[in-house]
Symmetry: C2
Subunit: 337 residues, 2 copies
DNA sequence: GCAGTCAAGAAAAACGTTTTTGGAGTTCGA
DNA sequence: TCGAACTCCAAAAACGTTTTTCTTGACTGC
């Protein structure tokens, strides 16, 4: 392993100047096709790979994107968003620098500083649950796209799931199967997803002329035990529903347990639809859970695409984008008895 | 937002040379305490943050670590490893560049190249399931630590879970509760985890003088349906076991389903222990699943720590490290009837 | 009181690129 | 035929640091 091969070595080997090599490889400048081809071949033979630190220093483009997330840990969602962003980045020869802030403002400031010091060309500011955020002041001059998050400051582009549409899709799927009394296992946390899905549920019911029985809407913590408690409450109603729409798949898992405890079979006695398409739960449940997928991967890709255009293209207007949530049909929905 | 403030601005403002500023901030060189303090205060006032591209270019230290993973997507494990690595990195003022190879060798080569071009100081080469790997030739001269992976090439440090110990812990927990006939819901894939846990299971049984009934060891795909199938097979034995050790939590979820299908209650009629401590499954199951946690977070941290020492300290010997897997007790284990 | 150390800091070189400027040869219009 | 315009490429400056080398003055030991 001798010395790393630099642009100078390529220039010498090809019998041209460094300038010419740079132009030949980047496609810039005016060069005869013959020279360009020649240089490229020599570069390939020498296995030349430019030092991006140097090139970034000179050109003020590091070809690197910062990804700031609040918690990458507990859910597999984070991974999907990151994966989408990475795939998009990879296609554009970009690399992602990922930092995690543990929802700690001081740490967030430090980590963003670390990214800025490394001259990232732009930043993806991501949250793991769809929510409203305040964008840190340090990002003022930096191209930034919000992921699974929205800001009151509309100068930032953002991409979020269409929560309202997701709930409409799920509810209409149940209505389409013939259900008329439908319960909603709701999240008790006051986040944008909660409000959006509840509105969607009501809107879908209304659109089909179905009354919403408020006693069939019960809120709880958005996890298995919460779903179980909420579902049990709903099922003890005198006129129990034949179907349940659950805020997410973890709550749906709880609803399965509640059904089992009440001696109800899914989907025979009770149809269930979730949201998230949490592979690990939805596919492993018995029967498989019909659910509405959140477009995590797509959000990651969309965000990189947008960010990249904001960086290279000039004067692109910011956009607030909502992405559709597709229904994933499995076996937890059937016509009512 | 005028021009970015550089080291030259600090020098001018403090009335010293750039050299002095550099030394004052980095702690190197010989400077009087008075000058050092003065420069530091001025730098803070100006909000100076060095350009890491430039400093990396000159010092050949980018303060950046590459993280190469095969698939960050489907499991939440990846997130835990990354989080551990990030926390470790953050403490040392390092940043992680994360790339994903989708288990595609060509892409892997390209992505590693992208990292190397950006002059990462070292690389974490991670797999999402404990397995044997061939380290790409391009990493030959680069400080590298293997995470959740081992190589025949012992010049690389690596960190993996103690699979054997995990199985021993789980099995002994069941034996300690009084069980003597224990089934093993095994993974059919031939990966290191499979072999290690099976050996651990056998060793623990043998250590307590218990016979291993081969018909109580059934392999299947390592997911919910696989676990269900395997558990059903085991439970149809004439002399059914009173406890099941499952390769992972997803299979354990399948075992719960099998128990329910056989009218067995957990843990009254059947005790179950899993591996992974997949929060989403283990905590949401009813009853909560007792399981052995895999040290993903710890592996990430350990790897960064090791890598950092390999980078700064010279001539550190490579180490193959196994990390212990702690038992997480919930409610799926009880004495046999 | 003089060569030799030493402390403190400045000047300059270096890192590996990209970009700007410049220069030699060719073609072209008048 | 002469300058202008163009083509192709090279030389040099620039990016913002760190590191090496150099300078200056003060202090030692004898």
């Amino acid at each position: 392993m001798s010395k790393r091969v630099g642009i100078r070595d390529v220039a010498d080997a090809a019998g041209v100047s460094m300038t010419t090599v740079s132009h030949a490889l980047s496609g810039g400048g005016v060069l005869s096709d013959r020279t360009r081809e020649h240089v490229r071949r020599v570069a390939r033979e020498l296995n030349y790979a430019p030092n991006r630190l140097a090139s970034g220093l000179r050109s003020q483009r590091s070809q690197t994107i910062g990804f700031v997330s609040d918690e990458i840990s507990t859910t597999p969602f984070a991974g999907r968003v990151v994966l989408g962003a990475q795939d998009g980045a990879s296609e554009r020869d970009l690399v992602l620098m990922i930092v995690n802030t543990n929802a700690d403002d001081a740490l967030e400031g430090r980590e963003i500083g670390a990214l800025l010091q490394r001259q990232v060309d732009g930043i993806l500011f991501a949250r793991m649950y769809h929510q409203e955020v305040e964008v840190p002041a340090s990002l003022a001059g930096v191209p930034t796209v919000l992921v699974d998050a929205e800001s009151a400051d509309k100068r930032f582009s953002s991409v979020v799931p269409d929560e309202f549409g997701a709930a409409v899709t799920a509810t209409e799927h149940l209505i389409g199967a013939g259900h008329r009394r439908i319960g909603y296992v709701c999240n008790q946390d006051d986040i944008l997803a909660t409000a959006g899905r509840l509105r969607g549920f009501r809107a879908a019911m209304a659109a089909h002329g179905l009354p919403v029985d408020e006693s069939l809407i019960v809120s709880a913590t958005p996890d298995g035990p919460g779903g179980r408690r909420a579902a049990l409450r709903i099922l003890e109603a005198s006129d129990a529903p034949t179907a349940l729409f659950c805020f997410n798949d973890r709550m749906a898992l709880g609803a399965y347990q509640a059904a089992a405890l009440n001696g109800l079979s899914v989907p025979g006695d009770l149809s269930i639809v979730g949201v998230d398409n949490l592979e690990i739960i939805a596919a492993d449940l018995l029967p498989g859970l019909t659910t509405v997928a959140l477009p995590h991967y797509e959000m990651g890709r969309w965000a990189i695409d947008r960010l990249h255009r904001q960086i290279v293209g000039d004067g692109i207007e910011p956009v607030q984008q909502e992405l559709v949530c597709p229904l994933i049909e499995r076996d937890s929905v059937a016509p009512p008895r």
